[in-house]
């Protein structure tokens, strides 16, 4: 059993990963000590905030501070503090900052392969091919088959230009 780093008596049930100026720090605390330190159940993972350091590293702080959605006027800083987006348009408005964050939360991917609304029709063969190829690419990279990955990447690029 992992014990709380603070009181060293209770089991650690709250696990917090903080990224501060590029440095990753993990804390393992029991419920009580976590609450004392301000990590209450709701506050444990304010999605945007815990990843703030990560995003700044990838996109640049100044550029981020200026990002504002033209539709709902939410700023990226506001999203970072609440963890909640303001409107569907934010996904495009904050794209550059959001993609690394989405990929981190979803095992390295930012492409939907699931259900598509019926009103948009059945997916075109091209889209299906892309979905399949992207899946194969992830698998190839995970299995360290880099030659195969390079071929797949080229195929994806060609298909993307066609679409």
């Amino acid at each position: 059993m992992l014990y709380c780093q603070q009181c060293k008596k209770q089991a650690a049930t709250v696990h917090v990963t903080e990224i501060d100026q590029g440095e990753k720090r993990e804390r393992h605390l029991c419920q009580n000590c976590a609450e004392e330190k301000g990590y209450t159940a709701e506050k444990v993972v304010p999605f945007g905030k815990s990843l703030a350091g990560f995003i700044v590293q990838n996109v640049g702080a100044k550029e981020l501070a200026e990002l504002t959605c033209p539709h709902c006027e939410l700023t990226f800083v506001e999203f970072r503090n609440s963890g909640l987006l303001g409107c569907p348009g934010d996904y495009d408005a904050f794209e550059r900052a959001l993609v690394p964050l989405i990929e981190r939360a979803h095992e390295g991917t930012s492409h939907h392969v699931g259900k598509i609304p019926r009103r948009l029709g059945t997916p075109r063969p091209l889209e299906n091919d892309l979905v399949r190829l992207r899946g194969e690419l992830t698998k190839a990279v995970n299995e360290e088959k880099y030659e195969q990955a390079a071929t797949l990447r080229d195929q994806i690029k060609t298909l993307e230009t066609e679409s």
Partner: protein
């Protein structure tokens, strides 16, 4: 509606369905937002009300499998809202937030569609035992019917758009509630936690998000919603994760029966004794003893009770249910007394 609800146990606690000795319930929820509206954190009060009225009328038209009742959560009193949380029909967050919001609930309590939760719509289907494939068929059908009426926010790259990017893509959350007293008793439960973490699954307590995984009840759910199809996510649970945990739990139960049967029986019957004769009891202690009783029934060590009675007690001993039955507001101390009364009465009747 609430008064009708509490007259019978929730269907998901009936103790039926495959693997119900270990799997208490299975749940799938889908997050959806209406295209052309801001997410709720940026919606004005007027837009919130407009969303409620659009969604409410369209949900009525999409109802499947019997009648659904729409509950105006904003107008319900605190106790009634709490009843819905205890029956897993709405989230704690939905019960406690503010502004125009509601939930459409099917009569058998299998389906609940929350309006204006974190997303405009949170559709959930909940059933007893391990029934994820069946639930997916049901919820997918409801989603299709809703989609015939409402345009949901959808992006060609990111899929269904949600207020929090952790839900984007499929918007799916698959959760399975497990009763694992064997693994807990033999101290092997930590291995399950570690394996779940490696597979990027979240482990929570009896009441889901924000509750600690204490006692012998664990809710396991996916965290990744993007990059895999709904079927892949569900199959991962139904074919790999859950069967393996069930197998481990059964191995530990067999070990207990082979080597520690006296200690096991002692634990079960002591818990029965406490519950049958206590005069005041906290909710944590109740959960602990009910868990032993449930284990005793499922392992054939205690035959004077059935699973449905034990399961029902989990619900009846929750704070709001107790107060509803006793017909008055009770403080903590009074609740402990009322809880002991309620349990004693049930165990004597059965």
């Amino acid at each position: 509606m609430i008064d009708d609800l509490i007259q019978k146990p929730a269907e998901w606690l009936r103790g039926e369905g495959p693997m119900s000795d270990i799997v208490i319930s299975s749940r799938i929820r889908l997050a959806r937002n209406v295209a052309g509206f801001p997410f709720l954190s940026r919606a004005t009060d007027e837009q919130r009300c407009e969303l409620t009225s659009i969604l409410r009328s369209n949900i009525d038209g999409a109802a499947t499998g019997g009648q659904w009742t729409y509950l105006d959560i904003e107008k319900l009193d605190e106790l009634d809202r709490q009843i819905l949380v205890e029956r897993h029909l709405v989230s704690r967050n939905h019960a406690e937030s503010k502004g125009s919001r509601g939930a459409s609930v099917s009569k058998n309590e299998r389906v609940s569609v929350m309006v204006n939760e974190e997303d405009h719509l949170r559709i959930q289907v909940l059933r007893s035992g391990l029934q994820l494939r069946e639930i997916w068929e049901e919820i997918n059908h409801i989603d299709d019917k809703l989609e015939d009426r409402i345009d949901f926010a959808f992006h060609p790259r990111y899929g269904y758009l949600t207020a929090c990017p952790t839900n984007v893509g499929t918007g799916i959350r698959v959760s399975v509630m497990l009763h694992l007293p064997g693994l807990k008793l033999t101290g092997e439960i930590e291995k399950v936690f570690r394996a779940a973490k490696d597979m990027r699954l979240a482990v929570r307590g009896f009441f889901g998000e924000g509750t600690e995984a204490t006692g012998d009840f664990f809710q396991i759910s996916n965290q990744t919603t993007l990059g895999r199809t709904e079927e892949e996510i569900i199959d991962g649970f139904s074919r790999q994760v859950i069967p393996r945990i069930i197998e481990y739990e059964n191995i530990e139960r067999r070990k207990l029966l082979e080597g520690r049967v006296l200690a096991l029986d002692d634990k079960i019957w002591r818990s029965y004794g406490v519950l049958k004769h206590c005069r005041t009891i906290s909710s944590d202690e109740t959960m602990l003893h009910l868990s032993h009783l449930r284990m005793g029934v499922n392992m054939g060590r205690i035959k004077i009770l059935d699973l449905a009675t034990v399961n029902e007690l989990f619900l009846l001993t929750q704070p709001a249910h107790l107060q509803k039955f006793f017909g008055s507001r009770l403080n903590g101390e009074q609740r402990s007394e009322a809880r002991a009364d309620c349990i004693r009465r049930r165990l004597t009747e059965s």
